[in-house]
Symmetry: C2
Subunit: 132 residues, 2 copies
């Protein structure tokens, strides 16, 4: 897509610090890392939502991330990692974690009253419908 920064990276119009590339995927360092070594893994073909991405591509992406993650941790001299997945433009994220790095995921909320049960009911119904 014309306005997609990932497509411009794949096409070479925007420079990126690549750490891995094959026929189907590119891995490169995020220029605004949440931790040093934060690596994005993207399919060369543009997909704009996980549910619009062919199952085969998602499977390949995760097989690749599973192989790359420990190497990204080792190369980043980190102790572990978190994974994320952008679903805007589909991109896997490998976020190296170090002891006492102070990173905190989004703040937590609490459910009040019977809100949890109410939401669960709606989600169950939606899942039932989706899987039928």
């Amino acid at each position: 897509m014309n306005d997609c920064i990932f497509c411009k990276i794949v096409g070479g119009q925007i420079p990126a610090t690549k750490v891995y590339e094959d026929n189907d995927f590119v891995a490169f360092l995020d220029i605004h890392p949440v931790s040093y070594g934060h690596t994005l893994v993207i399919p060369k073909e543009h997909f704009d939502k996980l549910e619009n991405t062919p199952e085969e591509t998602v499977v390949k992406l995760y097989k690749l991330i599973r192989r790359l993650a420990p190497a990204v941790v080792a190369g980043s001299e980190a102790e572990g990692y978190n994974l994320g997945l952008n679903s805007g433009a589909v991109a896997g994220q490998i976020i190296p974690r170090r002891k006492n790095d102070g990173l905190e995921l989004w703040g937590e909320k609490e459910y009040q009253g019977n809100m949890m049960d109410e939401i669960a009911k709606k989600i169950r119904a939606a899942i039932k419908q989706a899987l039928n």
Copy 2:
């Protein structure tokens, strides 16, 4: 594992608000949600790191998440979602997102000087070694 909260949920020793269950996986609402409808999807068998989890299980987990995520969004009356993956005890996370929900992922860092290139070099070397 004895001290794993997910295994206790699977085994029924700890109650959970389940929204989906099949032979291999359970999906339930996080009791400390980062957004309402925040859903965890876990394999019934305990795996403690993505790289120690059989590829087949990871593939099944992601196929399932890909099918559940839009339903979790619909049931949560949200507009989109983020996905995450815990690699401590392996668990997929579906985080429904709403316009102006104010959620912000971890703060961003900047690379100074040639730090980005230096880390990239080390990661490339580690990946090369891992894939050989």
